[in-house]
Subunit: 497 residues, 2 copies
Amino acid sequence: MLFQRAFKKPFFKNTLLSNYSKPYFFSTSQFKQLTSDDINYFSSFLAPNEIIQDSFELQAYNSDWLKKYIGNSKLALKPNSTEKISKILKYCSEQNIAVVPQGGNTGLVGGSTPVNDEVILSLKNLNKIIGFDEISGVLTCEAGCVLETLNQYLAEKSYEMPLDLGAKGSCAIGGNIATNAGGTHFVKFGPFKSYILGLEVVLPNGEILELESKILKDNTGLDLKQVFIGSEGILGVITKANIRVFPVDKYKQVLFMQCENFENVLEINKLVRGKLGRNLGAIEYQDAYAYATIQKYIQNAANPFPNNDMGKYYVLIEVCGTEALDDIVENLYTELSERKLVEDCIASESDAQFTSLWKIREEVAVAANHIGLVFKYDISLPVEKFEELCLIVRNKIGCLGYTMGYGHLGDGNMHINVGCYDLAKKKQVESILEPFVFEWLSHVNGSISAEHGVGRQKAKYLHFSKDVQAIEYMKSLKKVFDPKGIMNPYKVLPYSS
Amino acid sequence: MLFQRAFKKPFFKNTLLSNYSKPYFFSTSQFKQLTSDDINYFSSFLAPNEIIQDSFELQAYNSDWLKKYIGNSKLALKPNSTEKISKILKYCSEQNIAVVPQGGNTGLVGGSTPVNDEVILSLKNLNKIIGFDEISGVLTCEAGCVLETLNQYLAEKSYEMPLDLGAKGSCAIGGNIATNAGGTHFVKFGPFKSYILGLEVVLPNGEILELESKILKDNTGLDLKQVFIGSEGILGVITKANIRVFPVDKYKQVLFMQCENFENVLEINKLVRGKLGRNLGAIEYQDAYAYATIQKYIQNAANPFPNNDMGKYYVLIEVCGTEALDDIVENLYTELSERKLVEDCIASESDAQFTSLWKIREEVAVAANHIGLVFKYDISLPVEKFEELCLIVRNKIGCLGYTMGYGHLGDGNMHINVGCYDLAKKKQVESILEPFVFEWLSHVNGSISAEHGVGRQKAKYLHFSKDVQAIEYMKSLKKVFDPKGIMNPYKVLPYSS
């Protein structure tokens, strides 16, 4: 309740679309269609394997991994240098050719696939690790590096990235930065944007904007790099980054616990944050529906609580530190038991158990896909509302679907997934969920996108999280860097075609 | 060396001022001089005690605390509400009256005092603590709240601000945000900007830009608030903030150590960051010259090392945590001794000793002022260069002054202070130091302003830390929010008059 009271906002930021519908893009026909002259130009400085025109090969670039957002691009370019990217964009700008930048293409909101026939600019070949400075703890790499590759490189030096997420095996660091990726260790590290010390960005006109820096503290003028972090490719292309990384915590342990009601989950959240302080690595949540989905669809999943029924709730806590954690974990467990906050609790006693317990939480998203079509919402809301929203949605959906709530308790980011049993009823389910979920979030001052971004999916719903006026200033910033609007059109900002 | 190698920059970003001298402000006469009509207008909605015209009273507003930057404003306004600020700015914008926002007026770069006769907009009366949400750990307050007042308010709830600095007793939180303040706990918390979840900003045209949020994760569109954090009042006036705060660490201890050479300081820095990890609260540095200054000028200063001579170096380490630290501190001490990294080391055994040891480091800036006129540089550079720069400067200054190096070892932020013995030789000393120090920093990819900002002092030197092109885009952003250029003119961005 406190969360709401301090604000004096209307139920929605804006109930009328007309309030913000001043068109940003005038029409899709404003962009030029590719000609053989264009291809010839790109061929003049790109190697044959940097140009993809084969329609079969293009499918992977035209589609996101959930096969939800399918574009119709006739050309993907995979340059291996910043200079080539600069030449590509300069030309596209002059010729009015729309461009969609693409990293690992692991996004869930359609931000990295074309809407129509935009040229795909893949960063996959721009993937060199440039170096690691052990004195300052700064990693420098190109945008196409895969997150897990960077972590493997750092592990040899006993360092780790301040970011961890499900897609780590294929997501590109440039995309992580361009979407200000969140993930499971947000409670431990805070926002990823804090660790981006410097960037190299290619602007739509081909200018290479040099914002590189390995300096932790630098207050010299407006912080331009922050404008690009989380901009989802609508302002320019991130090509290189300097990232602050951290020594690996030597000791890590997971506690996985079952609770008999949601109030206890909230109490645990409050207790743990005060009690563990800087030893808290993660605090995650899932309801009984999510737990059951794991048990049903994930082979060999650990099942520490075979007594799961639909009234139970689960919390995962990762404790981490530079010294042995036995006392900390024991003290925590004692207090949880004495205050009767948990019905049962299991603690990892090996790396294998650590990984296995984490999987019960991490693989919910994958398990949910087995149900069939899944509506996924990545939202921020007051933690005390997590269960309430799930109850409302489950109630509204009735026998049309299966609703699971899970996510990052420590930072108020829930993923609510609704598995749709019958594909033929997809539209009916969608109309129940949207815009209802977004409206409801606006009512509790939540966010319609916690960590996945806006992309194509939520551009038209942006007004549920941001004021009209703020959206207008976003458009003004877009005009500063991309006056012709060629960069990742139809994404993030509301537009009319 | 690694620090340098990864970059391919020229010695200076730009050696020729003409490269960037496209004037931003055309002339000081572009602004209107105040008339009695203006005063009458302000009086129509401000209370008498919100309008200061008395020349004696105005002195405190026209001058910074080092009495280095003295303006000539005839009017200071101290509104107690956002709405009043909106009316003031709207009017000033319409009438073309220049405005300088002022928080605690504790800055060191002349950012919060008028250059000419700008109207001073003091935030002192906008100082309500709006509330603290214990579930999300978010503090909401107005911009004029003093940092220490906020910390006292939070201490009752066992929370603390993720920011600590010398001026805490008088600096305003709005100024801290507008300058992205750094301080002594940067190693523990990281950049202050990470904790600003939401802002209310009044734009020069009077619009109230509502960017408030208590959400930890919110990826909905371009992050406008980041543009205002660290903008030093040149884009608008921050009036309210939502700040993420943290549970107080129950255990804190200081180790203060003497080293026989600078290489050992670097080794300690490396060792401690890996070994203490998340238990590292601060790691600070001072040379023998700084240590001697404390002993000479600060009454009752602790003096754990009376054998100080000019070849010694000092390191302060704050260890913090949620559990008792005895083992951690003992392990650390054992390793420091066994590796012969320290000559001597003392650890605090009480709160009084904790404070007393911290004072040896924290009060250098105050002690240095006793020498006379002091040239103060707040710079970022590779830590391995700390000593080198001090040696060069000390050598160049010779018997004209006394050079001290001290600062934040953990984040590469050194404060180099040069006390000038003879006021008559001020110009000579200045010409030795400037632009030499800035040029040298550009050479090592350092920053001419680590945490104090650019303000009036360093606007003309900005090109030593930022590319021309980046500066041009900063100007473009300025034009988006302040097209008439009335907000804090002559600051941050280079201009010609």
